[in-house]
Symmetry: C2
Subunit: 376 residues, 2 copies
């Protein structure tokens, strides 16, 4: 293997696959990046127990200034290769595999000889049947991940809840996540005719996936196998394992009738919750209280040792009964951040029943649920 | 105490004194900031065992939009006050001390009541005799700190070496620091007639001091007492304790005659050292080797398990004997960063004797010393 390439282009590819590379793995070769130089361009692969990422840089990419002298392959320590590429003196680097799986990395007068490993020893990635593929825009997938991923459980006591549940049926894709204290569910219509599926993808994989996309305007192809899912863009294959087990039936959790409804402008409510949580975070019980009457909504935060805060909130509309309800402000903050800049309606049943948050405009099928805290 | 003030102006003052406030102190009141509102403006004070900072915001400062309704004082949790100020809904905040050392903090519709402490219980700052004052520009003091502070010892085994030694005598200010492996010494001429001094200021205090200055063009007044030093600018009093004990005589450590001299452009040498240290950092002995002959200078880094690097260096001049010398590249990096963008001359005696680095242009009195590593 021998090539010359612009070092910043190679570094960028390396950073993409490094999302899948951990220095803490128990399989030593997985701390490395697999580099394969083929006639059509350069493939890099990084992998851990949960995800694998393969990136491809075509020789047609003029910015990368790639010249291929001899195809071949090697595995190099990923972190160390990155440090070398960052510090090289010139724009262009020449890399050549020598005997004994060593590689020469030359740029200007700097001449590195680095020990690598035989690429034959690198584990094979799963082969995924690419017949049943669904295609959606990257920006839409990223949005769904941001709208649901934060609500997955962080605890391994119920592993299935650490993932996001995706169900494709009746031309609709449903994504839902819950940690049993709050829930977030998003549904989008799907026009393609593809086979239905019902899978649970680890929340951490989805987080890395959404960070790995470079072009929001691209399409991403989703292929599903027994225990793997593949997300495929023009220059990246992103594999994740699936979680095994039955995801709880969340549909019956979302109530249909309510007694009190208040409409807010999301970002304004978020700022007020952030202020009130300054106090609640200092106390033992991280709760704030919302007091709704026909002509006012007042938010209270209290921590006896530190102080208290009280704020009369700006709202758009109130309908229904008066209500006093307490909840964990951090769940509310996460929920409001997921909505972003829009008007939302919060619907309550009683101080002890979960309440929902939805966009006021009915054109988006997105609902969140938060369980209140009983205070007496 | 009652005032209105622009919250970002108050936050900026708070951030200055917060450099002296630790949440880990054993004296609870020192986690607070002392706030004193006087007829002329607002004083904030933060303090820990090593440094105390007092900032002053004059009511004449139009940007701060300060209105003083009633003078007074209080001590508030510094971190918590900062969080509140950052999150308030409006530009202007009204603060009023209530009964029982509580304070009301109001901005827009948000109304905080926060528990404080009586300012009478806050420790008094040392009173410093301001007769014997030296004055130098802030940018010059900052430069001296950057040129010497990095060389102090990080180990408490010889506490005196954790400080920078400042000596004023014969119209010259000498600053020197050493951790016994390397040394950095800077001398500047002083024109004022002030009493000579010989003090050791903790390196950490100097680091905080250089970060606390906001205006490089100002003058700073330096006053010295038995065990304290005060740095005074228009809006800030910065106190530091002095280190007790005798600083070793470093003057005799700097050699006067040499056998090999090489001139480099500092930043180019620094880049090459950074590359070579990528390899040495992976190995057990963090050393690189420089091989100087009449017509080449070659730098080697080696870590048998990982690989090796070799780079022929660009230099300006070589005079004297051939030499092979090994050293810790991290000391060299620190030294070269302190010189910045200039040509420097490195002067060697032998592979086992300390070598010096100096600016090639003789107009700056700045010398650094590094002890080599014996390799056989």
């Amino acid at each position: 293997m021998k090539l010359t390439i612009k070092r910043t282009s190679l570094l960028q590819e390396l950073q993409t696959v490094q999302r899948a590379i951990s220095s803490k793995t128990t399989i030593p070769i997985l701390t490395g990046v697999k580099i394969v130089l083929a006639d059509e361009g350069l493939y890099l692969t990084g992998s851990n127990a949960d995800i694998s990422i393969e990136s491809f840089l075509t020789k047609e990419d003029e910015k990368a200034k790639m010249t291929i002298f001899k195809t071949g392959s090697i595995v190099l320590q990923a972190r160390f290769l990155g440090e070398i590429l960052r510090k090289l003196p010139e724009d262009i680097v020449t890399m050549e595999v020598l005997e004994n799986n060593q590689i020469s990395i030359v740029s200007g007068k700097a001449d590195f000889i680095v020990n690598g490993q035989d690429a034959e020893n690198y584990p094979h990635l799963p082969v995924i049947d690419t017949k049943n593929q669904m295609e959606i825009p990257v920006h839409l997938l990223t949005k769904i991940i941001n709208e649901t991923g934060f609500a997955v459980s962080m605890h391994e006591s119920r592993p299935i809840l650490t993932g996001v549940h995706f169900i494709l049926s009746e031309q609709k894709l449903l994504a839902v996540a819950t940690d049993s204290h709050r829930l977030s569910q998003r549904i989008i219509p799907i026009e393609q005719m593809v086979e239905n599926f019902d899978i649970v993808i680890p929340g951490k994989s989805l987080q890395e996936l959404s960070r790995s996309f470079v072009n929001e305007e691209e399409q991403v192809e989703i292929s599903i196998m027994e225990n793997q899912v593949l997300f495929k863009t023009k220059n990246m294959y992103f594999y994740s394992r699936l979680l095994e087990g039955n995801y709880p039936d969340t549909n019956r959790l979302i109530p249909a009738t309510f007694n009190t409804e208040v409409e807010f402008y999301g970002p304004k409510l978020l700022s007020a919750i952030e202020r009130a949580s300054l106090l609640s975070h200092e106390g033992r019980n991280n709760i704030v209280r919302l007091s709704i009457s026909p002509d006012s909504v007042i938010l209270y935060g209290n921590s006896p040792e530190i102080g208290k805060v009280e704020e009369s909130l700006n709202y758009e509309h109130i309908t229904g009964d008066t209500l006093d309800i307490s909840f964990n402000p951090d769940y509310m903050k996460d929920a409001l951040r997921a909505f972003g800049e829009m008007n939302i309606t919060i619907k309550f049943i009683s101080p002890i029943r979960p309440f929902t948050l939805e966009p006021t405009e009915a054109d988006v099928n997105f609902v969140q649920l938060i369980t209140p805290v009983r205070t007496n």
